[in-house]
């Protein structure tokens, strides 16, 4: 691994994170696409761990069955008795699981992983098997997301302790950690003490960043201890606490930090490099421990300084960064599960349905003796006949996703936006009862924006509605395009989309974002025509004070029902949409 010596590109924080991981393996989030930096970091970590550490790579499309294990079919058929197959989680006991493209992991697979992480064992109840096996692994999630609406499933995200951003630029500094250093640090680890002041400072830093959960704070304390061991200290001091604040807390910031005192002093966070230099200042440790307040401030400042510069911007622009609840893949996966699999039934797998192997075996099992005695010459271990075949059987429930496309431009906002929001809320109450999903696209200024990916979580809907800003131009064409895209995506998942467009029909911003009313109107009609071609059901609600032909002709071009609601209130809109759509 000589090329490891060439450590260009790995920042000092990345090196430090690798060292801390080796000292005390904890779950890590590694942000950034595939590339030499990532390879370097992973190779470095691998070189620091004992040589026989299990190292399992897992694709994002991994199924709960693969993670947990189940019946080993080949072996079962071979031996004629049930043989269990170890899942990935159990096989990785004592080692590391590498999840590639973790932002595409579905919620169920992530739930399976997190429950194993919490208990240190996997509990398997599948395919007629009941097993518990130890699974104490650490996990490296490779987050390659580049879209703001992609992110690691929140349950897993919450448990990822160290965060390394490979895209961050910083001075490559410090020598490469080596194995002996790691061993020495591990020996020191148990004896390192943490004072109450440090715990309090890390708590304050977390709350100032809007982190309410206790888990990141616990993780920060543990990482501070690892840092102390790494730096050869007897107890966690300010330097170690700032390292933890930087690597563990800062990347999770949900709000711009507000220190308890003098909030007006910090309007702009300094770039990360300068904080680096400060916290490495050799004479900062020891002396500054005299006052608690000072310690708190230093730790908070370090956390602030290390907030990735684009993180807060992202938070402001997309209220639910990456949809904190479920990734895109998660939603499609779950909607596939929607139709209740009503078990298996007798059938022929040749005609396109899926063979249900376990049930087929079950069906064949009771007859084995009989069949063998009837046909003693056959030396097959298991005899399966056509009548044993069982195929998966699903009952499809018709599921809909209502896509609200809301005009949040200046003209609409002036009088109707509040009613539109009210109608959305009422519709939601309705959708909630039917367990439908809703999505929302808001358009204003130059762009149409997916403010809410399809969800059935009311908490998130309420939040994004409340945060929806208003004002600016009306990019109607872009919004219809966005609705087309989302409706198609929803349909691909096997769910029926319904589009509710709330607008006054007055387009004045073109697709490329320039203000040109006439061209904008033409483009809007063009987009509407395209929408009609896709054949989704839709309703256009004219929210202007006086119904106008523009919106009506738009509705006609879209193939949508037109509902002029000049002075209707929220509940009237909701009623109308309900009767128009369902």
């Amino acid at each position: 691994m000589t090329w490891l010596q060439d450590r260009q590109g790995l920042t000092s924080d990345a090196l430090l994170a690798a060292a801390l991981f080796a000292v005390q393996p904890v779950p890590v989030l590694l942000r950034g696409g595939a590339g030499p930096q990532r390879e370097q970091w992973l190779a470095l970590v691998q070189s620091l761990l004992p040589a026989d550490t299990p190292w399992r790579k897992v694709p994002a499309s991994v199924s709960p069955g693969q993670l947990l294990g189940g019946l080993d079919l080949a072996a079962t058929l071979q031996s004629g008795r049930a043989v269990a197959e170890r899942g990935i989680l159990a096989a990785a006991d004592g080692g590391v699981i590498l999840v590639s493209m973790a932002e595409r992991l579905n919620a169920l697979a992530s739930g399976v992983m997190t429950s194993a992480m919490d208990c240190g064992e996997v509990i398997v109840e599948r395919d007629g098997l009941a097993r518990r096996s130890p699974a104490r692994f650490s996990l490296i999630a490779l987050d390659e997301s580049c879209q703001p609406d992609e992110s690691v499933p929140s349950a897993l995200d919450e448990r990822l302790v160290l965060r390394v951003d490979l895209a961050a630029t910083g001075a490559p500094s410090g020598p490469l950690p080596d194995v002996n250093q790691v061993r020495r640090a591990q020996r020191r680890l148990a004896g390192i003490s943490v004072s109450d002041d440090i715990i309090e400072a890390l708590n304050l830093a977390a709350t100032s960043l809007g982190i309410g959960s206790m888990r990141p704070v616990l993780a920060a304390v543990a990482s501070a201890r690892a840092a102390a061991a790494w730096l050869g200290k007897k107890q966690v001091d300010q330097e170690c606490a700032t390292i933890a604040a930087r690597l563990v807390l800062a990347p999770r910031a949900l709000v711009a930090p507000q220190p308890p005192e003098a909030p007006e002093e910090n309007q702009e966070a300094p770039p990360p490099q300068s904080a680096d230099a400060e916290s490495r200042d050799p004479d900062s440790d020891g002396k500054s421990m005299d006052a608690d307040k000072e310690l708190d401030e230093v730790v908070i400042a370090a956390a602030q300084a290390a907030i990735p510069p684009d993180l807060l911007n992202q938070l402001q622009n997309t209220p639910q960064r990456g949809g904190r609840g479920e990734s895109r893949f998660g939603s499609s996966y779950r909607s596939r599960m929607r139709g209740r699999p009503v078990g298996a039934r007798r059938g022929n797998p040749a005609d396109g349905s899926r063979l249900h192997v376990i049930q087929t075996l079950r069906a064949a099992a009771p007859w084995q003796r009989l069949r063998k005695s009837a046909n003693p010459n056959l030396r097959r271990r298991i005899e399966i006949r056509g009548s044993d075949f069982r195929v998966h059987h699903y009952r499809q429930k018709s599921q809909t996703t209502t896509i609200f496309v809301v005009d949040a431009s200046g003209s609409a906002a002036a009088n109707r936006l509040a009613e539109a929001k009210g109608a959305v809320e009422l519709m939601l109450a309705d959708c909630y009862v039917r367990r439908d999903r809703v999505a929302m696209i808001a358009f204003r200024g130059k762009i149409a924006e997916l403010v809410l990916p399809p969800t059935s979580s009311l908490v998130r809907v309420k939040r994004s509605l409340a945060r929806m800003p208003a004002g600016g131009g009306t990019p109607l064409a872009s919004s219809i395009d966005a609705a087309c895209g989302l409706a198609e995506a929803v349909r691909r998942d096997g769910v029926t989309p319904t589009v509710v467009l709330m607008t006054d029909g007055r387009a004045n911003v073109t697709r490329d974002g320039t203000g040109h009313p006439q061209q904008a109107a033409e483009e809007a009609l063009d987009a509407a025509g395209r929408f009609r071609g896709l054949g989704h059901s839709a309703v256009v609600i004219d929210v202007s004070p006086r119904p106008r032909p523009v919106a009506e002709s738009l509705a006609a071009t879209m193939g949508a029902r037109y509902l002029p609601l000049p002075f209707a209130d929220a509940s009237a809109i909701s009623d109308a949409v309900r009767s128009g759509v369902h």
Binding site: R126, G128, N203, V217, L361, A429, R435
Partner: protein, 340 residues
């Protein structure tokens, strides 16, 4: 393999409502289960798993896969019902995990595939529902549970009986258990029918008080560093909680509800407009369990007020977008109807 140590129940801080609900369910299983919903990192599953370690033991028939107990009046499994005087012994009360990714055959039970393949014998292998009989069934991330499993659970929880008709088997066996679910509302809502199955519902949030947060971190940190030693040091406190449950179980049947208190409870339910009688029954039942836990002989207004949020929170007429949370509405009603 040694079972990993579990964080002691008595060392959990800042989540008194959740602990109270779990203790009530342990005292009187008829309260009907506990749902713990809320933010991440609040120790939801820690609390449930630690409760398992301090539940008093129960007497069960030796080798009965359905945990039949000699006291139960009806609904013994066929084997125990036919046999004469069964041999019994004390066993830990089961707390069964229904893990994510479990398949239906393991939940309800199915043909024992091993036996069938090897001996051509048709034998029923009981599933998780059988194992949880007389105990607790715990589902973490309950809102991620697949729909068909939810259907099964709803069925069984309503009837107290698991009916299996598959692979030529026709089996019915009793399955009464306390359903405990936990989850995070951001991952999706719970189906209203399932929500209704839970007797008590608790909302958990991270503690905001700095000194409590510091203490939580310290305790958890101590535990993580040396779990065995930590559990040993908390053993006495946990044992005290266990004794409290045992005493409460003995006492709960004798706890009376004076008429004025019962009237107040009805007035509260009326004021909140809860649907049906289930809310009122749960309210009284959990208030009795709480009184028993407190060592009182009769339910007082204070008990009603303390259990009202968990018993009624999820039974208010659904106005999902009402900005005033259910908890606040209940607290208001409690202040108006119970405390004047």
């Amino acid at each position: 393999m040694t079972v990993a140590e579990v964080f002691p129940f008595s060392a959990i801080l800042g989540q008194s409502e959740m602990q109270q609900a779990l203790l009530i369910a342990a005292t009187d299983p008829r309260v009907g289960g506990v749902l713990v919903f809320g933010e991440r990192g609040t120790g939801k599953s820690t609390a449930v798993r630690s409760l398992a370690t301090l539940l008093p033991k129960m007497r069960a028939v030796v080798d009965c896969p359905y945990n039949c107990t000699p006291e139960q009046q009806l609904g013994m499994c066929p084997v125990c019902a036919s046999g004469g005087e069964p041999k019994t012994r004390l066993v830990p009360r089961p707390v069964v995990d229904l893990p994510l990714g479990a398949t239906e055959d393991r939940v309800v039970g199915a043909l024992d595939i091993e036996r069938a393949l090897a001996h051509g014998e048709k034998r029923f292998e009981p599933g998780l529902l059988a194992r949880a009989h007389h105990g607790f069934l715990y589902i973490d991330e309950v809102n991620l549970l697949e729909d068909h499993l939810v259907d099964v659970l709803l069925d069984v929880a309503a009837s107290g009986e698991n009916v299996v008709e598959r692979e030529g088997l026709s089996i019915r066996h009793p399955a009464r258990f306390v359903l405990v679910g936990s989850g995070n509302p951001e991952e999706g809502e719970l189906r209203p029918q399932l929500l209704d199955r839970f007797g008590l519902s608790v909302e958990v949030a991270s503690p905001r008080d700095l000194s409590i947060r510091v203490r939580i971190v310290k305790l958890r940190d101590e535990f993580d560093r040396d779990p065995e030693d930590f559990v040993r040091r908390w053993k006495r406190k946990d044992a005290a909680v266990r004794r409290r449950i045992v005493k409460a179980q003995e006492r709960v049947e004798q706890v009376t509800v004076p008429d004025p208190v019962m009237e107040k409870a009805s007035a509260l339910c009326l004021a909140l407009g809860t649907d049906g009688l289930r809310g009122e029954l749960t309210l009284l039942r959990s208030a009795r369990a709480l009184a028993a836990l407190d060592g009182d002989d009769a339910v007082e207004i204070d008990h009603i007020a303390r259990v009202a949020p968990s018993s009624l929170r999820h039974r208010l007429r659904r106005d999902p977008l009402d900005d005033v949370g259910s908890t606040v509405r209940i607290e208001r009603a409690v202040a108006e109807t119970l405390l004047p």
